[in-house]
Symmetry: C2
Subunit: 419 residues, 2 copies
Amino acid sequence: MAIDFRVTVPWADPAAGRPAADVRQLGFATRATLATALSWVELHARVLAPETIPVSCAPHRVLAAPVGSRIDRPDADRAARDGHAVLAADTEAADPYTPLLLRLADGGAWRHGDAITIASGAAMPAGTDAVLPFEVAARQSGVHQGGARHDRALAVTTPAAPGAGVRRRGSETQAGREVLAAGRRLRAGDAALLADLGVTEVDVVRRPRVAVVAIGPKSGDADLVGPILLARIWRDGGCGASATMGDDLPATLTAAAAGADLVIVAGRSGSGADDDAAPGLLAAGGTLDLHGVALQPGESTGLGQLGTATVLLLPGDPPSCLAAYEMLAASAVRRLGGVSESELVPMVPLDRKIVSGIGVVELIFVRLQDRRAIPLASDGLALLYADGYVVVPETSEGFAAGSLVPFHPLDSSTWTRSP
Amino acid sequence: MAIDFRVTVPWADPAAGRPAADVRQLGFATRATLATALSWVELHARVLAPETIPVSCAPHRVLAAPVGSRIDRPDADRAARDGHAVLAADTEAADPYTPLLLRLADGGAWRHGDAITIASGAAMPAGTDAVLPFEVAARQSGVHQGGARHDRALAVTTPAAPGAGVRRRGSETQAGREVLAAGRRLRAGDAALLADLGVTEVDVVRRPRVAVVAIGPKSGDADLVGPILLARIWRDGGCGASATMGDDLPATLTAAAAGADLVIVAGRSGSGADDDAAPGLLAAGGTLDLHGVALQPGESTGLGQLGTATVLLLPGDPPSCLAAYEMLAASAVRRLGGVSESELVPMVPLDRKIVSGIGVVELIFVRLQDRRAIPLASDGLALLYADGYVVVPETSEGFAAGSLVPFHPLDSSTWTRSP
């Protein structure tokens, strides 16, 4: 299915070089819906090829293929608790009024009538099938039972069921069984656990290479958005690198696109009065498929291609840039990297009402205090004070004070000031 | 206030060397409540001394002192949007039926009656106090107004209010004003934002040095808990390092304690049948203040000191170790590091009921699917399948299926499999 995302604008005034409808001189006459822009991302950001890496390097990587265990786990019947290994059938006659006596051994080969002291995790002695907990058996010494004399004996007050207190071989997983699905992003502990299952190598999706070209607005905010974007690209599984800025923006863009899967340009995404606005440069050197999105802040976002790289044009002022990253660019990075998981979004009560317009997706930065979300003015410092943001869908006029709203943390670890 | 946390046990059978009440041979006869254990941590894990570092090194560090802005921001009255800088008073007479004409200039000194094209972020020309958006003004050329002829003019249809479209100098912050509070853990973007406020150095709490001594149970799970603990220590703001294990456990412990603020021993925390159980070694070489906590899994946790280091004894099997880390050790690491923020815990519906006993805090590992929490059997693989955990307080008998429960993610970024 070929979709033409190109925005058609009526060039009513060729002399002025601007579309008649573009009264705000933003470089676009109409805005695409965020859903349309996300469809474009879906078509253009296809998952990258897999590569095989040692499992020790796998944390934070995304599995390209399911992983199966190489071993049975446990690898043998093992004690699940400290106690005494016995054959359950030997203990059938035990009850609190007539304790049953077993020979007590601390190791060695098991024989009928033996109880062997065992620590949690140790392999069950051959012949035994249950672990009696310490509290249902008392040690005794110098005991006569029938004709035999035990130097040390165990008085058992409760019978054991076969398998009680035992982790059976293969009860947790078996060799060949799938333990992790494709698309999983491996956690810090996963590598150790996989190694424990005999898995030494895994197929993971190549990390997306993302070039950040931070040209910023004329006021010189460029050094703010670069670090903010790089941290988020890493969170989303990509390797971000700031492109070296030369004086020649077209040459910088071309060089960045040559080595990257994705190029994010931050700044000059409107047309304004600039000769060197990014949308015009992208249209000239590659394709500009879509420019202008019904997203607030971040409406001057543009989408296109340069060579084989997908190119996203984001606004240069920090709140707009971050909003466009979160709502669009993050999806591109995750899709390239094969992340098929979505964030769990906690619901938080809103401290004050939020008013928004119909027809535009609005992102409101909020600060958390006493576990309530306080909306912030979206100036440059909002990013310093904000703990996260709330999204108002295009079909909504906002949220009432006190309503529960989905809270998107700005940081990967969600910390909130304690009350 | 001196609190004696030492557990008093009746040694009824000195020959056996075990307290009479310790029928389960865990090494402790009574269990402290989790709240008591946390009080001990509160007393012993005191925030470390501050150090001054460059702001570029500050992400993830915890502020030891408030940070104030060094500058006014914005540093001048600046345009908040693209448009035309004007004096609002000049536009009072404008209305859609009788557009007001202003002289259009693209720069230079402003004079009464001028409109100067301006880009968002640029400093306002002296004399102007508002930015007219493009859509309320149309460019015209060769216009006569009164006796004057403007080569280029702007037809204004809506008056501007003073200050409209302008970010006033110091409106976001002023030099000397506190922008971040002590105890804040700096986010990835904060360093760039602080640098933008003229802040070049910050006072942060020294990172806690945490030595991990993973001795594991006899079954050899030691290599599992080390990596799991190190990842969590880093999440909580500490620098974790695995202690080099010699054959001599007391010497290993003493060496680890000498260079660390906190020592976490994983394994042999019960007494079992071991001669070299960690609680006995700690009691012999330092102090064992508390052993046995009403926490499931993780009840054999012990707390004490060795030299100047706080020592936490955690169980060696991975689920118990992780449970004890999350419920107790994490608090020690965060307190040493000055983290005064708490995690925001999302509420998630429970897929199946959880049954728990009164008098013990129980930690249940869960997997998220379709944004519901599915309780897992707490075997070793629970950690591989679990996305997080649910805590049942000691006063609760559990939760009904479908009830909303607080979900604690195991990973710093909370990813859930998409439906």
